[in-house]
């Protein structure tokens, strides 16, 4: 009898040990998943949850603060994600917090990130609140806007292409201008010559300067230097160079003068450009497009830089524009 | 032979009619008939493998006979429900051929085992006292807390006997109570059986090969041969029979 009681006691200890292990395991696992701890429930509506599962972590500024409790499909564009948030972290989470879904790097499971809002003095979140979400769709909106900019740019490119083709084919006056080989080479030559001349002149003057200054500084040595054959040779070479340069410069100036004279008197082909209205209009439109496109692009970039998550901006802008356009049409 | 059945003592407590049992092609019992009367010691003899144990097991419902009837204390054993069968079995003590003590239990627990299920029969009776009484009646009171493996074969047989007796049954079935024991121990067991019979006024069926045992204990004998009740009568009648098949048993 006593033996049996002892056995029963041992059995009781054994079974209780087993159950305790189980309960503790459940408790520790559950605690991590916030199944038992004090927690509040909040919601967020997404258009796309990108494979989020119940049990995934919810992070606030990178800290695990809760888990995804439930995912419900409300309709084809809204999916409600219910989250359990640790009561302790609640006071840090304000009403203007927004939720995004992203992947958790290494493991590849998805997490809900709570992004703190920017408004000062926003009140603490309450149980049952629904917070705003930033879906992948918002970025898609941004991409559409960028796309219209792109289209504008494409238009611009097409225009430019048209002009280039026209030029290549020798159409239009501008084409003729470029095609006039004699003129073109003339201009090229003139410019190249001018550059060369001025460069050479600069070098020569520089050298001369050096020599002169050394003479000035060491007067006693001046004779010596001047008598030195190598130095003498050098100096004479410099002077010869200078002379050549001056000669060339004179020629170049004459050339340019002639060219400008021609433009002034209205002769020559360049003049036609100014009078060819089609080309001018074309260029004008192209420039305008380019300007507009770059302006739009600029705006996008500004918005993106300002806050990559700020999707409302473009929408509002576009809507306003559409409204204005409509108003004008109505008038 | 019919005449020898004439000296009947009182009413039959067990009657077996046309019992048939075969295992596959092997026919073991073929229309076996037998009656046990109130208060008698009936000895059943038969060759080894003739089906004595099979018959006794069919009787208490441990085996299902192919056909035939078993009536015990006026009840048809084969048609009873669990509950009634168990109640009827409380009236039957069964000593197995190999003792069949529960070797994971102590002697005490072995004896308590039949009591557990039949507490109703002994309203509020002290189990401990009953165990001690049964053990004393087989002279092994000191073995109470031993395990069966710690006992000799003869002691085990006596404990098994005590276990068969503890419910104070009206009928006791002994399957070879003395086989495998030395003659002295065998004699002790036989004396014990006779004591019990006197004390509790039980009816007994004793299966044995042992002629000495049969002579001492039997009021009446039955010979089981070729699956049937070949012959019955007193020890005197059968041992003097001229039938060579019967004679073979008494050599």
């Amino acid at each position: 009898m006593r033996n049996r009681n002892a056995q029963n006691i041992k059995l009781g200890i054994f079974v209780i040990a087993g159950i305790t292990i189980f309960v503790l395991a459940v408790y520790f696992i559950g605690n991590r998943q916030n199944l038992f701890g004090d927690s509040i429930r909040i919601h967020s509506v997404f258009k796309n949850v990108s494979g989020l599962q119940t049990g995934n972590n919810v992070r606030f500024a990178g800290v695990n603060v809760g888990t995804v409790r439930d995912i419900l499909i409300l309709n084809d564009t809204s999916i409600v994600v219910e989250m359990l948030i640790n009561e302790k972290t609640r006071r840090h989470i304000k009403k203007d917090t927004r939720a995004t879904i992203s992947s958790d790097g290494l493991v590849g499971s998805m997490v809900v990130n709570l992004v703190p809002g920017e408004e000062e003095g926003s009140s603490m979140i309450n149980p049952g609140d629904t917070i705003e979400s930033i879906s992948k769709i918002a970025t898609a909106d941004m991409l559409t806007t960028l796309n219209t900019t792109n289209e504008n740019a494409a238009l611009l490119t097409a225009d430019l292409l048209k002009i280039t083709t026209a030029i290549n084919d020798g159409e239009g006056t501008l084409g003729a201008l470029i095609k006039d080989e004699g003129m073109a080479t003339d201009i090229k030559k003139s410019i190249a010559g001018l550059r060369r001349t001025s460069e050479a002149a600069a070098v020569s003057v520089n050298r001369l300067n050096k020599i002169l200054s050394s003479v000035n500084l060491e007067e006693s040595l001046a004779g010596l230097i001047l008598n030195d054959t190598s130095a003498a040779g050098e100096v004479s070479q410099i002077i010869a160079d200078l002379g050549q340069s001056a000669e060339e410069m004179k020629l170049m100036t004459a050339n340019l003068q002639e060219f400008s004279e021609e433009i002034k008197t209205g002769e020559g082909i360049l003049n036609h450009i100014i009078n060819d209205t089609t080309v001018v209009n074309h260029l004008d439109a192209t420039l305008q497009n380019a300007e507009e496109a770059s302006k739009k692009f600029d705006e996008n970039m500004k918005a993106l830089q300002h806050n990559i998550l700020f999707r409302g901006y473009f929408r509002k802008l576009e809507r306003r524009k559409a409204r204005e356009g409509k108003n004008e049409n109505n008038r | 032979m019919e005449n020898s059945a004439a000296h009947t003592h009182g009413k039959a407590v067990i009657s077996i009619r046309n019992l048939c049992k075969s295992f596959g092609d092997q026919v073991v019992l073929d229309n076996f008939n037998m009656e046990i009367y109130d208060g008698e010691n009936l000895v059943l003899m038969g060759k080894s493998g003739s089906g004595k144990s099979v018959m006794i097991k069919c009787m208490v419902g441990l085996m299902e006979p192919d056909s035939g009837e078993v009536e015990i204390l006026g009840k048809n054993m084969l048609e009873l429900h669990h509950q009634e069968k168990d109640e009827l079995r409380a009236e039957i003590g069964f000593l197995f051929q190999g003792s069949a003590l529960y070797d994971s239990m102590t002697v005490q627990e072995n004896l308590e085992f039949p009591l557990r299920r039949h507490k109703k029969k002994f309203k509020g009776g002290n189990t401990n006292e009953m165990v001690e009484e049964a053990l004393e009646s087989v002279g092994l009171a000191h073995t109470k807390s031993l395990m069966p493996a710690e006992l000799s074969g003869g002691m085990q047989r006596r404990i098994a006997l005590a276990r068969a007796l503890i419910l104070k049954p009206k009928i006791i079935l002994y399957d070879e109570p003395t086989t495998g024991l030395d003659p002295i121990t065998a004699k002790e067991i036989i004396l014990l059986m006779m004591d019990i019979q006197k004390k509790y006024k039980t009816s007994s069926l004793i299966i044995t090969h042992d002629v000495d045992c049969a002579r001492v204990i039997s009021n009446r004998m039955i010979l089981l041969l070729e699956g049937t009740n070949y012959a019955q009568g007193t020890f005197q009648e059968l041992s003097t029979s001229k039938d060579p098949k019967i004679k073979a048993f008494f050599k």
Partner: protein, 259 residues
């Protein structure tokens, strides 16, 4: 011809065995829910199976955790992922290796002892004696043992898992200077309900399989001492096979549920 005959005989005897085993299991449920229940014997069996297997399970589990961690260490070290050790070890022990190894150990210990015990009880007519004494031997011997095995195995597996994790933590403590607290913190960080629950449910089935097969083989053992040995031996073999089949089904099902 003769060969063919034995082959078909083997196949049909296999199906006969499965059928008989199913009937046996069915009878268990029938008798389980009918009065009376042998509570004392049930507790005794729980003690026999639970407490008496604890040392074996504990030692096995400890060595399992030790060896498993020692063996995995160099590989993880090579990938610079030793910090993943607690989660890797704990998940594989809790989900799979713990339950299966401990169940196999218990099949060897509990299953064979049930087979041998009931087999020898059958051979020495103890089961018959029980029936004659007015006790339903199926209820007394089979129901209690199957139920005890079913309930004790999950406990043994839970304790074994924990000891295995201690073994693993010890290696990490000695080799990697990871404190036990940190180790178990990581463990509970890694384990999910979807790891623990299917494993626990599975271990009930493991226990049931061990109990049912052991009892079936022992209870229906053939006469003679040879029958006892055969009962205990085939109980272990058949149980081990069944454990893997159950494990496969469990993994399959939990994969569907927890996907």
């Amino acid at each position: 011809m003769n060969h063919n005959y034995t082959a078909t005989a083997n196949v049909s005897s296999f199906f006969m065995e499965i059928g008989a085993l199913s009937r046996f299991a069915g009878r268990f449920f029938k008798e389980l829910f009918s009065w009376p229940f042998e509570f004392r014997e049930f507790l005794k069996q729980c003690y026999q199976m639970g407490n008496k297997s604890l040392l074996l399970v504990g030692v096995t589990g400890f060595i399992l955790g030790l060896v498993f961690t020692l063996q995995s260490r160099p590989t993880l070290l090579e990938f610079g992922a030793v910090s993943w050790m607690p989660s890797m070890i704990s998940i594989s022990i809790v989900r799979e290796i713990g339950p299966v190894i401990i169940a196999l150990i218990c099949a060897g210990r509990i299953g064979s002892s049930i087979g041998a015990e009931l087999g020898s009880m059958r051979v020495t007519e103890q089961i018959d004696a029980m029936e004659v004494s007015g006790t339903n031997p199926f209820k007394f011997l089979v129901v209690t043992r199957i139920l005890a095995a079913t309930l004790m195995l999950p406990v043994l597996i839970l304790i074994g898992d924990l000891i295995a994790l201690f073994g693993s933590a010890l290696v990490e403590y000695v080799k990697g200077n990871v404190s036990f607290l940190l180790y178990f913190n990581e463990v509970f960080e890694a384990i999910k309900f979807s790891d623990l629950m299917p494993a626990t449910i599975k271990s009930f089935f493991f226990g049931f399989a061990i109990g049912v097969v052991g009892c079936f083989k022992g209870y229906n053992s053939s006469k003679g001492t040879e029958g006892v040995g055969k009962a205990s031996n085939s109980a272990v073999v058949f149980t081990s096979l069944l454990l893997f089949i159950i494990d496969f089904i469990a993994v399959f099902v939990s994969d569907i549920i927890y996907g």
